[in-house]
Amino acid sequence: MIVLLAILSVFINPEFYKIALTVATPLMFASLGGVFSETTGVVNIALEGIILMGSFTSVVFTYLTGNVWFGVLMAVVSGIILALLHAWGSIKWSGNQIVLGTAITLLAQGLTGFLMEPIFGQPGQTDFVGKIDEITIPGLVEIPFIGQVLGEISPFVYIAFGCVAFGWWLIYKTKLGLRMRAVGENPEAADTLGINVYAIRYFGVIMSGVFASLAGAYLSVGEIGQFKELMSGGRGFIGLAAMIVGNWNPVGAMLASLFFGFFGAFSNQLQSLQEIQVAANVKSLFDTIPFILTIVVVAGVVGRSRGPAADGVPYEKHD
């Protein structure tokens, strides 16, 4: 009974919702990246590596220049470069997109590990280099509860929501979005109408690099102000799961990310509850919750959601 009340107390604590949002933010970026790439028909599991590279690059340039936002900008550049590499292998050379994504993730892991010592003089993790502070929204912060959740929070949370809105508008309301959807569904048809299938696909993949790198920047300079090896921690893959659950729609992917965020926050809060007396080692079992949840949700949903018909299929002009 006490345990049950304690669990309930988690849900009335505004801090819980704030944590949920911060857990969801990188997933929102990552899943939006997945939506952009796969809408045009390119599967991008390189997201995981792009996130990691984004975390690293933003810390490096923050460290070198002292300007955190410049760090974020360079993270985006790094994301674009890795995404371009994926696009080049997938689109121009019709490589197996899943294997290419794996290669790029491995490349990011290798590069970040390799460059740690020359740049920071130590392996594993960097020192604190500076971070982007939470912003306080006047007015909003005074509102009870909501103010405690949203009034003072990392600007990345707002940027993430902004990106989702932008993504939805671009894909469903513009000429470019119409073409993206056409190319992912039936590239041959788009081609016969004079649409440049390759250019559209490059665009989708590059945008996925932009968003995924923002996820990475958030994890390092947005949240803790330092880089740790392998800190992306599977978020690229969970983001892809959110994309599938969200039926390849930016808003759906956002909702799925928030769902994952709430469960992440829940398992996190559960561990710190004093009422549930668990040995320290058992806590690591709580950490499996988001991953188990991802498996369950993907398995439960995948039959009913439907991705673009030409997703993952290289397009080759005949002749």
């Binding site: 599991i45 590499l85 292998g89 997938s90 050379w93 019709s94 490589g95 197996n96 899943i98 294997v99 290419l100 794996t102 290669a103 790029i104 491995l106 490349l107 892991q109 290798g110 590069l111 590990g113 390799f114 460059l115 740690m116 010592e117 020359p118 392996p123 921690g233 599977g234 893959f237 969970i238 892809l240 799961a241 599938i244 040995a279 320290a280 080692n281 058992v282 690591s284 079992l285 950490d287 499996t288 991953f291 188990i292 991802t294 498996i295 993907v298 398995a299 439960g300 995948v302 039959g303």
Partner: protein, 344 residues
Amino acid sequence: MKKMFQSIAVPVIAVVIALVISALVILAIGKNPIEAYGSLIHGAFGNQQAIIDTLIKSTPLILTGLAVGFGFRAGVFNIGAEGQMGIGALAAATFASNFGGLPPAIAIPLTMLIGMVAGAGWAAIAGFLKAKTGAHEVVTTIMLNSITTYIASFMVTGPLATGYGSPKSPEISTSAQLPILMRVGAMELSSGIVIAILAAVFMYVFLNKTTSGYEIKAVGFNPYAAEYGGISVSKNVILAMAISGALAGLAGVTELMGVHHRFLGELAGGKGFDGISIALIGQNNPIGIIFAAILIGALRTGSNEMQFMGVSKYIVMITQAIVIFLVAADRIVRAIYARKKVEA
């Protein structure tokens, strides 16, 4: 003959290109790539001890390479060899410290069986979900990898904790340890390498000579046609994942039984992921995989020596990434190859 040459040409050229690009990376941080590679080769093959070390490192890599390669042949991408290897070793370690009363003739196969069953079961979860719900095995096996990590850390800090030093399991019974094949200095080459080669033979025979192998390949190439031909796609997807997982689990147990003799918090240490590059370099062919595993094993061993001259061993990971990229987009390599031919 020509066909065989061509199938070898792509991975070989890919490795060469990757080494060249890595050399440029080494150059970029102000080190001499020739010296770096020199120490790498010396570290891997410079003396008897180094060679033994390379073979020790190659043993689990052959098995994870076979695991991933077997999956590819069956049309599944088992990116979860890492977790299956870990869970296999963990399960075996949990039981094998109590096998003191058993003779080796029973303890050794039993321990191996536990590890293989654990790996197979872990992978079969992903196979089952793919077959029944369509959940992609890449997503599910990656999640299972993460879950494995936390379970392992729970086990070595909890039920299996030894109570001293870094978190680890107790040593497994001597009767469950693999016999040593050769000893040079501190290096002990266990009979695990023989097991790995036998596994390669198994994969060859299974895929090329048996009706089950025929079915698994048919499903991998064209699941619709397989079903039409009366071959159950779901059964074979699960079977393929299970066999792949069993091979990865075997990689875990040979490490446990032949090298560390205990479970050390983290066991796979990237060897499961190495399986992907090895399978691709080996073109999913058992013999190719053995050679590719020795190549990656040598890079891993040699990179320790290279590290002494200030070139991080992560360069090996970069090299591997480039190789995987080039083999996946093999037309890049073919295009380069074709151009070379025209020029010549």
